[in-house]
């Protein structure tokens, strides 16, 4: 199974710290799976111009291919101007229609205020839904005050990340069972 952790910010350190911790947990708990990590700070992606994702070459084709080949996608993201940051939106723009069909997708959001708690619900989920992702309903929402000296503090955050992993992996396996069963029906 291909598990991809995508750190969807090209500024700051909080999303990188949180997604790195998440990736390390996955590596410990799911060592048999193929776990990959992409930080948008490490790649250079052009804005979408409508081309097929295979035709951009360079980082774009590499990043988009990894997303297309993932079975499970953990998206880490800060909130900019009360919505998803442009670099993350751009990744979605670069993907083809229905790109996230049959993929299980969960969210790990960092934000400055509880007042932004519903932004993943209203700004992220409808886009993921349009891309046909199997969305993990409960997301992890971490306040900036949980970060200190480059670290994520709090047992609570730790437990919530474990639960996100658990929810995501169980849902992913579920959907895989469904697909296997459907394929069997049709004699594949």
């Amino acid at each position: 199974m291909n598990i991809l952790v995508l750190s969807g910010s090209n500024a700051g350190s909080k999303t990188r710290i949180a997604t790195t911790l998440l990736k390390e947990k996955l590596q410990r708990q799911y060592s048999g799976e193929n776990i990959d990590y992409i930080n948008l700070q490490d790649v250079s992606l052009p804005f979408s111009d409508g081309r097929n994702y295979m035709d951009y070459g360079g980082d774009a084709t590499e990043v988009l291919t990894k997303i297309m080949e993932a079975d499970v996608l953990f998206i880490g993201s800060p909130i900019f101007q009360a919505s998803m940051p442009a670099p993350l939106k751009n990744v979605f723009d670069l993907l083809p229609q229905n790109a996230l069909e049959d993929k299980t997708v969960s969210m790990l959001i960092t934000a400055g205020s509880d007042k932004h708690f519903l932004i993943p619900e209203y700004n992220y989920k409808p886009v993921l839904s349009y891309l046909k992702a199997n969305i993990v309903p409960r997301y992890v929402f971490i306040l900036d005050t949980n970060f200190q000296d480059g670290q994520l503090l709090g047992d609570d955050v730790d437990m919530r990340l474990d639960r996100l992993i658990d929810d995501t992996m169980v849902l992913s396996r579920t959907y895989q069972d469904i697909r296997a069963e459907k394929d069997a029906q049709f004699g594949f």
Copy 2:
């Protein structure tokens, strides 16, 4: 009064065609005002890294300064993946908090299907609202089928653009009157 028409797409031609027509109408109807036009296809903007907009230099500082100096902002935009395209989101990310305070902002959206009619309501307005814009409630929504051979067809579209201009300019002037009156109260 500074009026800015922003064509918020860096791909395709429909938003450019529609915003160009809008700009020409403004130039005829409001020839005494300072009317500017920015097409995101003509400029190169980096992703926001949290700096002040004056510190990017180049196209970024030029574009952002024009937005900051505008009294009225017409935003043209296609819909990508059921939401605003990354290049337009990036312009918002590059702007400071409350950047659109005291500005009147209206939207001209091109889309492939009526099923996307509510995306300006749910995906654009909350971001503009967060930026403190005075949003013109009724937006113009133009289907792709209205474009043919590089032109916008239909008397209906023409009338709706005229109405958008009218709604926007009236709202803007009234907000200016309010501000003038408030300033007078405080003796400025």
Copy 3:
């Protein structure tokens, strides 16, 4: 000018307390205007069955007529199940299409948690927008912890209510100026 304060809850006391305070402020600050107050706890409204609002008789026709005759509408509401309560939604269902056209509408929301801060933005505004209201962008959001012994505590809340009134009355006057000017154009 007809100003109507609508307490949109039929349970609990917080919305009643907050809207009563708002009404008293309005009576002091705008004593020359016609200020009315409706508490949904005091009336009995049937669910909408599609009839014209004048045909229900009783409380329904009385309440709906007051709303239709209002120039300014202050809506007080708690949040139930992360959205507007059914009794308030029912008032909107009972109203005709475009019922709030040319009315200035503002919101005073009580809630148990800051995590619900964006519900007025995403759940209330699109409905008010569909009804064609001129929506006051900034709403007052009061946490349950601000209520104690049947009273609203805190200078901050007091200031925010004053600001809501100010924003609303100024916007209302603005729209009235616009209408008067448009009517003059057409020689009415």
Copy 4:
């Protein structure tokens, strides 16, 4: 397994016709399951006053108990004023917090225009999500023009209802497997 079809409108006939057809399909395809049907036109529910759902008595307790005991819930609903009708919202208000946890919930929406296509996404899903439902992502959206002489027309609608049933039942069964497995882990 308890399957409940809820016709969430107390006016008109379209939602009743569509949900009746859905119920008949379920009865043919899942004759071994316990299939129930509630039409809000046939019951009288008070507005929620915050009591426990068992304490209302009468129709309320009966309807709410059936919902609480359902494993699968099909919600049929028209759109009123660009959002869910008050009678349906009231059912949600009457339910306790987390009422839909471990239930699979799908939607069958009737509407007058494609322009309302995203209302289930933005107005219904966030409420169902708050109630902790396992939401079937793809909903059936039927235009009023598909109804004629008290019947639902079109092979397309027929196929989409079959697909809704299939998606819902598969998702429900898989969630049940997950729960069974988790319970086994903990030795229940």
